[in-house]
């Protein structure tokens, strides 16, 4: 499974690769990273939407996660690709906006990697 993680924090890459090192090593998961919505859209052009799961932060300078979701759902009104949004704790407004735009699932910051892992393996 290809997973595209979108977050403006660059250290998120090392964190994911270490947290999912077994899955990466075994080849069950393949991670790609984008530090902005624009970069994410560029990367998505080369992917087969069927096999991609997008995990995006909402709070990013420039294009936000919400806008990214809107753009993705503009092309693919329903999953695939699956889109999971990462929201700040208690940010109901963005959660509602993302739901109405067709987000498939939510994760709350700080990320619970065990929860994420179970969700990804489903």
């Amino acid at each position: 499974m290809k997973i595209l993680v979108v977050d403006d924090e660059t250290d998120i890459k090392d964190l994911f690769l270490q947290k999912f090192r077994k899955e990466v090593r075994s080849g069950t998961m393949e991670f790609n990273f984008a530090t902005s919505g624009e970069e994410a859209l560029d990367l998505l052009k080369g992917y087969d939407p069927e096999s991609v799961l997008i995990l995006s932060d909402i709070n990013m300078p420039g294009m936000t996660g919400i806008e990214l979701l809107r753009k993705i759902r503009g092309k693919h009104p329903v999953a695939p690709p699956q889109v999971m949004m990462i929201t700040a704790y208690g940010d109901e407004a963005n959660r509602k906006a993302a739901t109405s735009l067709g987000a498939d699932d939510f994760l709350t910051k700080p990320l619970d990697f065990n929860e994420l892992k179970t969700k990804l393996l489903k």
Partner: protein
């Protein structure tokens, strides 16, 4: 009969116009008694007793006339008594002469009677002429007195008015002073409020900015524990693979990241404390590159937290080898926060117009000016710009284009004071209406 009228009128004039208090004897008004009792009695004597008692009556008149002249003489300083004296003296003299000749030298009296009578008539005429002039004088005096009183009265009224006006003016002055004092207090309160307001805007940004590094600290320490467990397992089996050295490398990196993000969080906390603390006015060596990046992020996240629909891209152009600046960091931070907030506000307003292809962007850029031993900071935005007619007003206190309640109008005026008065620098603005605004700060290095 004649003497009666002369005495009666003379006394009435004296009692009306002169000071009679020295002639009180045992609470008795001597002049009054003379005027209303003695004179009429002598008159009665004169009339009833006729020629037989002529000497007594004429002696009585002589005494009364003498007394009147004595009173007048005593008060000769008074202008009226002076003229009465002048009028009466000749008559008195002729009366005394007549009296003496009549009773002491009756033979001479017979031969000179007609001359003496003539003299008597002349002095009488003199008396009446001067009496009338004295009366006129009296009237003039009265008028003058009245006028004087009128003037005094008017003066008093005027003085009263002046006092009233003075009081009014004093009251107004006091009120104005109070108002000025109140205004000063309000101004101080507003400055505090402005500080608190910008702190409030900061809090949300700070929460977000702190949360991210803390998450990294937690996550990297967790994952490091996992890595160590894995390493321990490999150690217990006894064969170390390539994987083990990879884990070790990761661990080193992770600890570095933990330390980096920990410092990042504590830097933000320190910043917040510095911002909220009342400025100590203490100058420190400040790294402008770092300060600018911190505050544009705080501003961005603060506005994001307040308004979910707000969004903008922002860029920080740090200058390499930028000298540190001797400055008060919390004051400088307030200025940067304020300029960034304004810039983000401008782009969000323009973004709300839904212009196709518009990408909101705020840039903070540093530049070294070695020739001037100064550092330049520019905060630029591609928002709506500032209309020409408002450009001169934006640094004025209480000027704001924001809706009531959203801006204090003090941000830029305080910023201006902090840069110019507090740091000896310059704060200028350039703007193209509808396109962009650039605020430039030039700070001397020391």
């Amino acid at each position: 009969m004649l003497n009666f009228f002369i005495c009666f009128f003379a006394l009435s004039i004296i009692r009306k116009n002169l000071d009679t208090s020295p002639y009180f004897r045992n609470n008795l008004d001597v002049l009054r008694i003379l005027h209303l009792i003695v004179v009429p009695c002598v008159m009665a004597f004169d009339v009833i007793l006729g020629d037989s008692m002529k000497l007594v009556a004429e002696t009585g008149w002589f005494i009364i006339l003498s007394y009147i002249l004595y009173v007048l003489y005593q008060q000769k300083e008074h202008i009226l008594s002076g003229s009465l004296l002048k009028a009466g003296l000749p008559y008195y003299a002729s009366y005394v002469l007549l009296f003496l000749i009549k009773y002491a030298l009756p033979s001479l009296y017979k031969t000179t009677e007609s001359y003496l009578d003539l003299l008597n008539i002349i002095t009488l005429v003199w008396l009446f002429a001067f009496g009338i002039s004295a009366k006129n004088q009296l009237n003039t005096l009265k008028r003058e007195k009245e006028q004087k009183e009128k003037v005094i009265h008017e003066n008093e009224a005027l003085e009263h008015l002046v006092r009233e006006r003075t009081n009014e003016i004093l009251q107004q002055k006091n009120q104005l002073e109070e108002t000025v004092e109140e205004l000063k207090q309000t101004q101080n309160q507003l400055i505090q409020q402005e500080k608190l307001a910008s702190l409030g805007e900061l809090t949300a940004g700070i929460a977000h900015e702190i949360q991210n590094p803390l998450n990294f600290v937690n996550n990297f320490s967790e994952v490091s524990t996992e890595l160590l467990e894995e390493l321990k397992e490999e150690l217990s089996t006894g064969h170390l693979s390539e994987n083990s050295s990879g884990i070790l490398e990761d661990l080193v990196q992770n600890l570095q990241k933990i330390s980096y993000h920990g410092k990042r969080a504590s830097g933000i906390v320190k910043n917040m404390l510095e911002h909220s603390r009342a400025s100590t006015g203490e100058r420190q060596q400040v790294d402008i590159n770092t300060l600018a990046e911190e505050y544009i992020k705080l501003s961005f996240h603060g506005l994001r937290a307040k308004d979910k629909s707000f969004n903008s891209d922002f860029k920080v152009w740090a200058a390499p080898a930028l000298p540190t600046v001797e400055a008060i960091p919390q004051d400088l931070g307030r200025v940067l926060l304020n300029l960034c907030n304004n810039a983000f506000y401008a782009v969000s307003r323009k973004a709300a117009e839904n212009i196709p292809g518009y990408k909101p962007l705020v840039t903070i850029a540093m530049e070294n000016l070695p020739a001037e031993e100064a550092v330049k900071i520019t905060v630029s935005d591609n928002g709506g710009g500032i209309p020409k007619e408002l450009k001169n007003k934006i640094f004025q206190p209480f000027f704001t284009t924001k809706p009531t309640g959203q801006g204090t109008g003090l941000g830029l005026s305080l910023s201006y004071d902090i840069i110019t008065k507090g740091h000896g620098g310059e704060l200028t603005v350039e703007s193209v209406e509808g396109e962009s605004t650039v605020f430039s700060i030039v700070l001397p290095v020391r």
